[in-house]
Amino acid sequence: MTAAVEPTQQELPLARVHGERLTRLPEDLYIPPDALEVFLEAFEGPLDLLLWLIRRQNLDILDIPVADVAVQYMAYVELMRDLRLELAADYLVMAAVLTEIKSRMLLPRPTEDDTEDDPRAALVRRLQDYARFRNAGQALADWPQFGRDVLPLAVALPDLDLPPPQPQVSLGELLAAMTEVLARSALTAHHHVRREPLSVRERMSRILGQLTADRFTPLLDLLHADEGRAGVVVSFLAILELVRERLIDLSQNEAYGPIYLKAA
């Protein structure tokens, strides 16, 4: 474990010098594995680790010494392996990317300044993009948050004897419920759902509400001329249906005499 730590920790300050080969300083080093583990686990992935390596050495992100950085990167990945950290496959993919860039850097390029042809260009863009969001994440963490930095009020509301909130029902829900009922009763088929126009059914309820069981009411009291012919027809149909459904009693003492109704 000590051996794995050694090169990384010692190389880093030396890698600042652009283009200079790293010199290994054989020296015994020891970092408590726990602290190291915490440190390594704090990396959010290969881009995060690479950014850290670059910034730590004040390297220019646009001119990364890929060969050096690749060596350091691999040293950290080896270290993670040695510590048996759960190593995301993404770290190994990045190692391959670095190796590929390193080998392409060795090939001659048409012009030195042509950044488009720079094999590092794609990686640099990714690093820059990630760096922005890494900072944006930090900016969000620092941003005043409700419940953490500014606190909600817990002012009490005195409880008067308010009626509890009542369920609200929409017409759509009512229609859906009835549709469901009809669909089921059609399925079971043993029941025959009758339908009259709602105006009649409503009138049936109204008339029933006007009648009492202990007193006869003249039919003519229930038919109102001011409702027009249509209204009278609806009332009449309602009364017929009420009689048929045995909800009211109808009596007539003599032929052509007045008709009386009472609730059943």
């Binding site: 009835m178 469901e180 009809l182 339908r195 049936m204 012919r229 027809v233 459904e245």
Partner: protein, 190 residues
């Protein structure tokens, strides 16, 4: 940091009343305030509320801010408290009463194919949407139920005729003469 403001902040965020002992744990500038200091701050805060919608009350548990009771009723509808929902059984029962009234409990059970929970009709009656409108002249003289004016008001209807039509729904049983006559009447009426 000003002790009065600190106490104000503490009382605003605390979900329970705070006693003077608890308020003494607030130490502006590292100094524990005396009980007299705290009492003075509380008096000051009480005074500041005089013209406002909240008041600083003193109960057995200590001090707490609350909204004056005058405003409770007015702000209650705005509060996030979610209204409960009716069960499917309740909605279906309501629909059956609305579309098939007047109906007995047995009618409803027959149409739904299951027996009705004992509280279900009571819920709808308590809500003021359903009432017993009479009795059917059969053994037991069961009550028949219909919808009320309040029911129509809730749905913004002038009459039951304005309920969405079931005509488009699959319903094989059609009553020829009676419904045609009444539909003619509806047309006249509208």
């Amino acid at each position: 940091m000003d002790l009065t403001r600190l106490i104000e902040a503490a009382l605003l965020v605390a979900s329970e009343p705070l006693g003077i002992d608890q308020l003494q744990r607030l130490t502006p500038g590292g100094r524990t305030p005396s009980r007299a200091d705290i009492q003075q701050a509380i008096d000051q805060l009480t005074l500041e509320c005089a013209e406002r919608a909240l008041e600083l009350t003193h109960t057995a548990g200590g001090y707490r801010y609350q909204v004056r009771a005058t405003y409770t009723a007015a702000v209650a509808p705005l509060l996030a408290e979610r209204a409960p929902r009716y069960s499917r059984a309740a909605l279906e029962t309501l629909a059956i009463i609305a579309y098939r009234q007047p109906v007995t409990r047995a009618d409803i059970e027959d149409i739904r194919g299951v027996s009705l929970g004992s509280n279900l009709l009571k819920t709808l009656i308590d809500r003021g949407w359903v009432r017993a409108v009479g009795h059917r002249e059969v053994p037991g003289r069961p009550a028949v139920f219909g919808t009320t004016r309040a029911f129509l008001d809730h749905f913004g209807l002038r009459s039951l005729g304005e309920l969405p039509s079931l005509a488009d729904l699959a319903d094989p049983a059609h009553e020829p003469q009676l419904s045609m006559l009444a539909e003619a009447a509806d047309t006249h009426a509208s």
